[in-house]
């Protein structure tokens, strides 16, 4: 047997913590199509890791980079089994888990930010967020950010902001991305204007739910246990003890 599951059941950071606390030695196999990975764990610490692409038979990363790569996986299935041969593995991971996890987190937030910037074009329409309380009250904006923010109410698109402020898109877009991240502005969602809420009744099939709950309650009451006496219980304990 082995420890088996998906990263949705248990995150990789949890797994690493478990290895460390339990001083485990073994091999962790992960699979997130089309990639596979192997992580070697000796006495609770990560010694080496390899990620490869099965389809193209290509090495993606090894050592610490492999761990950072793996920390972005969300849907992989995994198996961990204890295996003393991991002790013989040559160490290629030197930094501790926390440092690697922090690095992976930094990577993912800057890559999210980059992806957001890529998704913004001159035609992107912007609006102030409907719920300003979503924004962090402790945010301090610099002059550039204030300047762009003040345009949002009078401009519809990034193109218009560029024209008004006489700034190139390359300067405006990163600022806009930052303001979106703060929760101050958002990309206008055309779909939101559609009256699709009318078509969905959340209560459709729920008619009987309160009824069922009522039944359960009655059931729980009628199932209220009648406790055995203390003496009987102690007799049972003695008997089980002597089994």
């Amino acid at each position: 047997m082995a420890l088996e599951g998906t990263l949705q059941d248990m995150s990789l950071t949890d797994l690493f913590a478990i290895f460390r606390i339990g001083v485990k030695t073994g091999v962790l196999l992960l699979k997130q199509h089309p990639e596979r990975a192997v992580v070697y764990v000796a006495n609770g610490s990560l010694v080496d890791a390899v990620v490869f692409n099965e389809l193209h038979r290509r090495l993606i990363a090894n050592g610490e980079l492999a761990i950072i790569h793996l920390l972005a996986w969300e849907n992989a299935t995994f198996t961990f089994f204890s295996d003393k041969s991991a002790l013989l593995c040559q160490r290629r991971i030197f930094r501790d888990n926390d440092t690697l996890i922090r690095e992976a987190l930094d990577n993912s937030s800057s890559s999210r930010r980059a992806a957001l910037e890529r998704s913004l074009t001159l035609d992107t329409r912007l609006a102030m967020t409907l719920l300003p309380e979503r924004a962090d009250p402790a945010i301090n904006l610099d002059l550039e950010q204030w300047r762009i923010l003040s345009q949002i109410s009078i401009c519809d698109t990034i193109q218009e902001i560029c024209t008004n402020t006489r700034k190139p898109a390359e300067e405006v877009i990163p600022v806009v991305a930052g303001l979106i991240k703060f929760g101050l502005i958002e990309v206008k969602d055309e779909a939101r204007n559609l009256p699709f809420y009318d078509n969905v009744s959340p209560y459709k099939n729920n008619q009987s739910a309160p009824e069922a709950a009522g039944k359960l309650l009655v059931r729980a009451n009628s199932n209220r246990i009648r406790q055995p006496g203390k003496r009987l219980l102690q007799a049972i304990m003695r008997r089980v003890h002597n089994l």
Binding site: L3, E4, I18, F80, R219, N223, V240
Partner: protein, 193 residues
Amino acid sequence: MQAVKLVITGAYSAGKTNFIRSISDIEPVLTEYEVTDPEERLLKKETTVALDFGKIAISEEVVLFLFGTPGQERFDFMWEVLSEGCVGYVVMVDSCRPAHLLETQRLIARFATITDAPFVVAANKQDDPAALPLSYIRRRLQLPFEIPLLPCVATERESVKNVLLALLDHIDQGIPDSDDEEIPPTIVDGMFS
């Protein structure tokens, strides 16, 4: 005859059948059926539909009954029937399957609506070197610290005894001293004699 009834519950393949088999006086009466779901079949060839059932004679008059619940949700209507009159129950969780943790958390919540009986949680398969530690299991099940969480190896009688004793002790602690013998034990008259 007096019957004292305990229920052994837990998600699919947690180890209920083995638990009952390890401690029972008789070979448990198993009602196995062929598993059709391919993923389940990988986990185990057969499963229990109706119930695992074991008994331990306490004295001439008193018998302790152990009832296993079928694990899959499609049989959970059985839980209410099985829990009737039970004085306590064991929730088994597979320490090697993190996916069981959420399922078990739901099962615990569901059982609490069915019965007020006290329960303990048994973290099974602790003989596996890759088993999750109890502290992690407790955290993921969001188990309050008053609820005992025991390491368990369902295939070993001593370990099963330990879990049962912990449950009995936990039941005992819930009974006020003054109530001694005032309330009769749950009686299932001659049901299984």
